[in-house]
């Protein structure tokens, strides 16, 4: 069965004809060519396919595309500003060694964003909790946690979240 869904993807309004059985991951990768969202397991266990739907981190491999009607989706491609300015979390991952092979990075970064949007000054335990569903085999998580902490520890400085969707909420 087909249906038409309307949603906001990385700041742009979209209207698409989709198949009912498609996952959001399939829609993003195979139909829209947004390959930054990775598939690590296809069963919601590794978090590589994490995207934000209405600000919540979800496993797009388990999320039906039909469910995004009327919602706002952010993928890794939409996180940096159009001029290329990285989101502070992306910048921290780059600068602090939070990335090795990089396969988990898009999902990991978006899980971190979901956390910090809700709890900008998140502490170490909250960070570990928030990314517990994102598996990384390379880093041992240490520098990932440090990357996220380097942003959350500056929360009181009001480091502005630079991406478009944060401006909307101001």
């Amino acid at each position: 069965m087909e249906r038409i869904v309307s949603f906001v993807l990385n700041g742009s309004e979209m209207q698409l004809r989709i198949q009912d059985h498609w996952t959001l991951l399939h829609l993003l990768r195979e139909e829209l060519g947004l390959l930054g969202t990775k598939e690590g397991c296809g069963s919601g266990e590794c978090g590589a396919c994490t995207v934000l739907v209405d600000g919540m981190a979800v496993n797009s491999c388990l999320y039906l595309a039909a469910e995004i009607e009327g919602k706002t989706v952010l993928t890794i491609e939409g996180l940096a500003l159009p001029d290329g300015t990285l989101h502070p979390i992306q910048e921290a991952f780059v600068e602090q060694g939070g990335i090795q092979c990089g396969f988990c990075s898009p999902g990991m970064i978006l899980s971190a964003k979901a956390l910090l949007d809700e709890n900008p000054a998140a502490g170490e335990e909250e960070i570990k909790e928030a990314i517990a569903g994102n598996i990384c085999r390379c880093t041992g998580y240490v520098q990932i946690i440090e990357s996220i902490q380097s942003v959350s520890s500056r929360a009181q400085e009001k480091v502005k979240v630079v991406a478009w969707q944060a401006d909307e909420e101001d």
Binding site: E91, V94, G140
Partner: protein, 775 residues
């Protein structure tokens, strides 16, 4: 002391920006026009005759472009022992045996076609225990081999172990075992192959060994009747390696065969279950170790025998004894050493290289035994290690020549950073274990070399074509730092190309923690040649003697006259756009002066050796057996940290992989079948399992390493398990001898020590209740 401008700096990985923004492309992301999707049908039995395969229904399915079985393909043999075929004919020997494959226009059609293939099997008795497989009446996995014991020569005896046993004041002897664990790369395996009009092959493959894979695929084309064809191996970004991509695999050959059969590009990418079932594991081991020392605590002998479950086919797992020999003969000073390992065919999965390459298994036995021997001799564990520690200048019985060596400094760092002597609460314990690993290449093949080509453009930018393979560890970044350092440039000026056998020189592969040392030295050699060329042209243009010129800040400067300075790009253009102009290019092939092991396994395998010591404080819950890590210190002598941030990343990642190996990870194999092929049931550690960790880095400045550096890719996971085992013993007085050290195992050992059986009944206090224990 040299002042470096890029070496020693915490420089972000060159590809981190692309990876952080979703631009990076892995094999999963690649598509080419006309591409078909390949899918593999695996065996339903661990050991069975293939009676008949009916592919007619699959072939008729719309969208299917090709179906192949083992009966349709030429005799392509691969693997270390050449005992494996891409698609099996005659019989299957394990659940992961590839029986048929299809190529179709989309993944769903390929999947459906696979389900339509009907295979009739006749089950054969399987053999899953390597000890049982050694019996004469055991079913044969490979009939032509006549025995299940591989004819591999893993046997050495240096000095006289029997004589040393007579002299020893203290002797301990124990059995240890390790099981299957797997790499769990987040980016699963895959390959994309196609042929041009003249049957030249291009293959994108997740491989750590582009140059050796090229050779394997040339051999495959030969077997397919295509002689003298070109094979181009292109390595996309790899979503984790850890040794898993050190061999060529059935799926790569199947992609090639399907591409040739259909005359279309064919891509095969594993799903997660396939990645668990059909990729190779770390080599499981059964180890018997005896060690003895004199009254003063000096080691007199080490005597080890091992049985390795080879699985049904032979990949690098069977050769891990060659690396196990290193800690066995050379971790601490041991004058008399004996070692024998038997690899045995079974109907289980077959093993591969995995970070440490046998070293973690051997070190688990050695370092557990070291604590046992120290206790038997009544010597403090730390002092015992110091008494026997290697030093610079030491030559081991296997002829390993120790150059830079910071083992004692690492021991001290762990004692200090872990505060080992502080009072302990009940259930708390501390433990330590040391490691030695190759840090200056490892001469496994006739060549241990790596080539580099450097090309400088007109704008002061540098292309470095290296044989090295980056798979996330940061090889490209380290190479860029080395070249930038030598040429006075910034890392951003350097573009490292490491992906394509058509443009990159030969390299033996990303293994043995060799890339920084070997590819680094290769890049340094090429950069020195470029530097010489720059100085030669600059000397003329700036009218200054070469020895008065220096390369810094993207310029060539006179040391004596500030006005005689020229920006690098401008200099290059002046050199290029003139009569008899020239472009600056250089190549350098570096092959370390290490040695192949001889027939007696003697030989200085590596130019230098990396040492390290791990220390851990645990708390053991005596009611549940759960082990909690309170503190972890991993000290390594790395020679020189070219990039401390990336180096720490290797150590942290290695330690966490090692903790998983020690405590939680195992492939549960039931009569050859993987029972937990997913992340839910295979217990890889998550962020919530991260332990407080320190990674002190000691820099002994290796005389042969690039800027003094030694390899550090693998060591992080080598001594983790024995350090934890020793801490558990210190905490609750039980010695865990089998990995992983699950709560069940620890609790059983605690209860056994207390004289409580598995039903919770204490010996001598018969309650009259029946105790039924199900195995």
């Amino acid at each position: 002391m040299n002042q470096f401008h890029t070496v020693g700096k915490r420089i972000p990985k060159l590809d981190a920006m692309d990876k952080a923004t979703g631009r990076s492309q892995y094999i999963q992301d690649l598509k080419v026009p006309g591409m078909l999707y390949g899918k593999i049908l695996y065996s339903k039995y661990p050991h069975a005759k293939i009676v008949h395969i009916d592919t007619s229904k699959a072939k008729k399915l719309p969208g299917v472009r090709g179906v192949l079985t083992g009966y349709d393909i030429p005799e392509i043999k691969f693997g270390v022992y050449k005992d494996n075929r891409p698609l099996k004919a005659g019989k299957v020997r394990s659940y992961r045996d590839e029986v048929a494959a299809v190529a179709a226009v989309d993944p769903e059609t390929a999947e459906e076609a696979i389900s339509l293939i009907e295979v009739t099997y006749e089950a054969l008795p399987g053999i899953f225990d390597p000890v049982a497989a050694m019996r004469e009446d055991a079913p044969l996995v490979h009939e032509a081999h006549k025995t299940n014991i591989l004819k591999m020569p893993w046997k050495l005896h240096y000095g006289d172990v029997e004589e040393a046993k007579k002299k020893a004041a203290y002797i301990v002897e124990e059995n240890f075992s390790t099981t299957w664990v797997t790499h769990c790369c987040l980016g699963a395996s895959g390959a994309l192959a196609w042929f041009d009009y003249a049957d030249n092959l291009t293959i994108y493959s997740n491989t750590q060994i582009p140059s050796l894979a090229q050779k394997d695929f040339i051999d495959a084309l030969d077997a397919m009747g295509m002689k003298n064809r070109r094979v181009r191996v292109i390595k996309p970004l790899i979503g984790g390696g850890f040794g898993s991509k050190l061999d060529t695999y059935a799926y790569e050959y199947i992609a090639i065969l399907l591409a040739h059969h259909t005359r279309k590009p064919v891509k095969i990418v594993f799903d997660r279950q396939e990645e668990f079932i059909a990729t190779s594991t770390r080599q499981p081991t059964l180890t018997r170790i005896a060690q003895g020392c004199d009254k003063e605590g000096k080691l007199l002998f080490r005597d080890i025998s091992m049985i390795l479950d080879n699985g049904a086919y032979t990949s690098w797992g069977a050769t891990t004894p060659s690396v196990m020999m290193m800690p066995i003969t050379t971790l601490y000073k041991v004058p008399n050493v004996r070692y024998e390992a038997k690899c045995v065919y079974t109907n289980n999965t077959y093993a591969q290289a995995m970070r440490g390459y046998g070293n973690p298994q051997a070190t688990f036995a050695i370092e557990s035994s070291m604590d046992m021997l120290a206790e038997a001799a009544g010597i403090d564990r730390v002092a015992f290690r110091e008494i026997n520690a290697n030093e610079s200048g030491y030559v081991s019985p296997q002829n390993f020549k120790i150059t830079s060596c910071g083992l004692k400094e690492c021991i001290n760092a762990v004692v200090r950073e872990l505060d080992m002597d502080r009072p302990k609460e009940k259930g708390e314990g501390v433990g330590m274990a040391s490691l030695i690993h190759v840090g200056g290449g490892a001469r496994v093949y006739k060549s241990d070399g790596c080539g580099t080509i450097i090309k400088v453009d007109d704008f002061g930018k540098v292309n470095v074509f290296t044989g090295a393979s980056d798979m996330g560890q940061g090889a490209d970044t380290v190479i860029a730092q080395i070249v930038a350092e030598e040429l006075g440039l910034a890392v951003d000026d350097i573009h490292v190309i490491h992906t394509d056998t058509d443009v990159c020189p030969w390299d033996v592969g990303a293994h043995a923690s060799r890339t920084t040392f070997v590819a680094g030295n290769s890049a340094l050699g090429a950069a020195k040649k470029i530097k010489a060329q720059v100085l030669e042209v600059a000397s003329k243009i700036l009218d200054t003697p070469e020895d008065k010129l220096v390369l810094r800040d993207r310029s060539v400067c006179s040391m004596e006259d500030d006005t005689r300075t020229m920006e690098f790009g401008k200099l290059l253009r002046k050199a290029h756009f003139s009569r008899s102009g020239r472009m600056l290019m250089a190549e350098h092939f570096y092959d370390p002066a290490n040695e192949n092991l001889g027939r007696d396994f003697r030989g200085n395998l590596s130019m230098t050796y990396t040492f390290g010591v791990h220390g851990v404080r645990v708390k053991v819950d005596e009611e549940t057996g759960k082990v909690k890590i309170l503190d972890y210190v991993a000290a390594h002598d790395v020679g020189k940290a070219i990039n401390p941030m990336l180096l720490e990343g290797q150590v942290y990642g290695g330690v966490m992989m090692g903790i998983g190996y020690a405590l939680t990870e195992q492939i549960l194999s039931e009569k050859g079948q993987c029972m937990n092929p997913n992340f839910r049931d295979y217990k890889i550690l998550t962020a919530k399992d991260v332990v407080p960790m320190k990674a002190p880095v000691l820099e002994s400045s290796d005389p042969d390493g690039p800027f003094g550096a030694k390899g550090i890719g693998e060591p992080g996971c080598v001594p983790t398990a024995p350090a934890i085992a020793n801490a558990i013993y210190d905490a609750v007085g039980v010695r865990i001898k089998n990995l992983p050290m699950t709560p069940e195992r620890v609790l059983a050992a605690i209860r056994e020590k207390r004289g409580i059986d598995l039903c919770g009944i204490q010996a001598g206090k018969d309650t009259g209740d029946a105790c039924v224990v199900e195995e």
